[in-house]
Symmetry: C2
Subunit: 519 residues, 2 copies
């Protein structure tokens, strides 16, 4: 695939582009907090939920979880749990008592309080791709290590699209910035280019503390205000099977003590670091997740915690991870049932194994995003821009995924299926009769501008019109949209004093050497 | 996009291809009758179902349906319905009495009785694309009028893929065959290249009678045996709004009188030939469908009939039809609720507006196929090979859609979510402990070959391996699969005497002039 040089000129080329700065590049859905109005899909009968719960509890009681974190081991001992070396055995009564302290719903308030996000209940919130080390776009047509400029472009997409609610981890890892100070530059970019909820990697105490401090500064908050409610979150993965490592637990404890939110997402690939059976992989994931959540609830009762799922399967011929598979969809739905059983909010993801933004990428990603909807997921990680099992971030894929997410958000609007009064349209049908059409009726005129979803990327023209306009395939259309959004991007407002304070903080911490890189 | 000359050589090129004739080109799921194990998604509350039912009944009672068919008008008069010119007014009691005579489940038995299909209940059956006048493939990279060779290739795909249960209408219209004899040549090809359930277009009495006769001959059936149960079906569209035309009704009456199955599928594009509200478009579709089904049940009580839905929306900026939209998904689910209310099997479709088999094609088609699953659809038309709102058939799209359908069929297998005994895998988790992996465990070894879905088209290799193998995007991979399947195709067995009888029938009917073309 090669890129046509002619760009889409819906507004009259460059002059037009200058006039349609910001939101005008495309017409998109307004910012909203979508809610899943359908009942969740629940493949497990009640005895299936009970079997997975019992399996998870027996793992915790009989096999135990390794915590490679001395502070955590000491806390578990203090709580009366059996600790043998670095293996912690957790009694189910203790686990359930701790988990019950976690709230079923909570909010996170970013620097722009209008972007406050409610997690839990029927809310479903979408975030950008996080943490790929590599970048691919159609003009490069190659996988390259990520850099800061690419990351900034992806942050602009994150901010631009109303359907993206939160900025997760780095949308691509900027390996051109030294690891000791990377978090400082990236957080400066994230906090100035976006005003959405964001996150700290739990990768050593300096990083975590720096990010909390920067989020506090960006919000114009005192320490007390920052700690009064969640303004950010961290997401950790366990080291499956059955292990939590030092910096991940350390970061969470630091956030917990300052009242910030925590997502615990085991990465249980069935057949590799988890059993080949999906029920076994989910049981293991639940055990790993609840063991950490129990710790955080003991330390800070009521701290917001979320169950994350990253249960998928491997290709048993090659060992390669697979995503968006039937097994992935079902395990996400199963985990949703378990999250409701524990009354905790849930995170899942938008994922694919495809290497480029082609047909496979879209059926795999669609499968995973719809599974998020069906499972009752509250927080959808990686929902825009992910390729190659998370090893590549792509701006074209980001734009394409946002179209799919907008489809989902529109699908969740109950007015589509309204049946009251003139929704049945009997008088319009009578008026049109047996030979007319509905284009010109008053019933249509009153409703046509909002009746249907209007895509920004789908091309609904017939073949001839599409061909006359260059015959551009979806990925290339997405490339042009991405370029236009980035070219006309306007950063959200930020008080000059706050920007200067952030900048000064970054300079000071750089001068101090940033964070150690020997983890 | 250009096609790489190097084809996939998983079996060693041409010599390998010769050895892997038939099924060996790809590993695919076995033939099966999938059942939807999840409850349907039901956006309408009970009062919504009641409102749409009442709307449909008032349309039939107060506005009436035009039947451009004198025989139908006479039958309705005989039945005591009010007939004014060609408008038929149907009382709701009459409609419901007639509809209640239709079976909620039935079978269709093609010439190979092992391919018998059960329609209704939780069964979901998939068919090929039907009736596009044009063809597109990646080597042409152009939209061209369909011809017989292309049609034969698409029929080979229809037969080859186990996930395709029935052969719908012509997979592309072979316009190189004169319209007067086209049905004869096409049916000969369909009946010799496939052994799956097939269909007659209701386009004039000669065509319908010829097709019934050819299906009877191909099955080796007497007239009595043919009429004893359904061996084929027809699908008709109403001429929305609120009209049934002459040949469609004529064809259905001919099939009904010989005990064959009928699908009535209004094409109600919201905002164009139906109200701009989805509830109104569904109500109108139900009225159009039930009016015809009532007629057929009066003529032949108990004849198998199915409610079809083709309710989508137009782009209100251009009037272009849209497919796989949020509105399409919801109207399909709503129609599913209505079909269950009337206790009739349902047909929907796999559809998209995209012009080429790219990302848009796959999110639109995925949306529509999943809506079929969610709605309780029993018969999924056009589920493989459709582009440009049904104006183009594409073999690459066919292959890609079959991958998505296989995903769905695997998703519907209840063993994925089993939680009995060693599904929880506690002993395997104990054995692996905190530092191992599950690849080598007995638990994995006992299950790995069937634990996960194995795709035939998705490429799960990492970027480097994929790039080293040519960096081939999905559509191009599909092109190579299509070429290999067609090259190594083996037609299903047919008795020589039956083939000769079919051939003689075609020659005789051609000599007689075929069918008139002045409809």
């Amino acid at each position: 695939m090669t890129i046509q040089t002619r760009s889409r000129r819906r507004g009259g080329g460059r002059a037009g582009a200058a006039q349609r700065r910001g939101d005008a590049v495309i017409e998109q859905l307004p910012w909203s907090i979508p809610q899943v109005i359908d009942p969740p899909i629940e493949p497990l009968p009640p005895e299936g939920v009970a079997a997975i719960h019992d399996g998870a509890m027996r793992i915790l009681e009989e096999i135990g979880i390794v915590f490679l974190n001395d502070e955590a081991l000491a806390i578990f001992k203090e709580a009366g749990c059996k600790v043998d070396g670095n293996i912690v055995y957790l009694d189910r009564d203790f686990v359930m008592e701790m988990v019950a302290k976690a709230p079923s719903e909570f909010t996170i308030t970013p620097r722009n309080p209008e972007r406050v996000l409610p997690f839990g209940g029927r809310n479903i919130l979408f975030g950008n791709v996080s943490s790929p080390p590599n970048y691919w776009d159609l003009s490069l047509n190659a996988k390259v290590p990520g850099n800061r400029e690419q990351m900034r472009d992806l942050l602009k997409l994150t901010q631009y699209f109303n359907c993206i609610h939160f900025a997760g981890g780095y949308p691509v890892e900027p390996v051109d910035i030294h690891a000791s100070v990377r978090h400082l530059d990236v957080l400066f970019d994230k906090l100035t280019l976006t005003d959405k909820v964001m996150h700290a990697y739990s990768l050593g105490k300096e990083r975590v503390e720096d990010v909390m401090e920067m989020v506090r500064i960006a919000g114009g908050l005192s320490d007390e205000e920052f700690e009064a409610k969640p303004h950010m979150y961290t997401n950790i993965n366990s080291t499956s099977p059955l292990k939590h490592d030092e910096p991940m637990i350390d970061g969470c404890l630091r956030l917990a003590r300052r009242g910030q939110a925590i997502v615990v997402t085991p990465f249980t690939l069935a057949g590799a670091m988890a059993p080949v059976t999906m029920a076994g992989a989910v049981a293991q994931s639940i055990a790993e997740s609840l063991s950490a959540i129990a710790l955080f609830q003991y330390v800070r009762p009521g701290i917001p915690c979320m169950i994350g799922t990253f249960t998928s399967n491997v290709d048993m011929k090659s060992g390669a991870p697979a995503f968006g598979t039937p097994e992935y969809m079902r395990s996400t739905q199963m985990t949703g049932q378990m999250a409701r059983f524990y009354d905790l909010p849930m995170r899942s993801s938008g994922v694919c194994a495809a290497n480029v933004p082609d047909g496979q990428a879209m059926w795999e990603t669609s499968n995973s995003l719809w599974a998020a909807v069906q499972s009752g997921t509250n927080m959808v990680y990686h929902s825009a821009g992910w390729l190659e099992g998370g090893l590549i971030a792509s701006p074209e894929k980001f734009v394409m995924d946002c179209e799919v997410i907008q489809h989902i958000q529109r699908y969740l609007q109950p007015q589509i299926t309204a049946t009251r009064g003139e929704d049945i349209a009997l008088e319009a049908i009578r008026e049109v009769g047996h030979d007319g059409h509905f284009f010109g009726t008053q019933h249509t005129q009153d409703r046509y501008s909002t009746a249907f979803y209007q895509p920004f990327l789908s091309d609904w023209r017939n073949y001839e019109a599409w061909e006359a306009a260059g015959g551009v395939w979806t990925a290339e259309r997405a490339h042009h949209v991405y370029k236009e959004i980035v070219a006309s991007f306007e950063a959200p407002a930020m008080d000059d004093a706050i920007r200067e304070e952030l900048s000064a903080f970054v300079e000071r911490r750089k001068a101090e050497g940033g964070a150690p890189t020997d983890f």
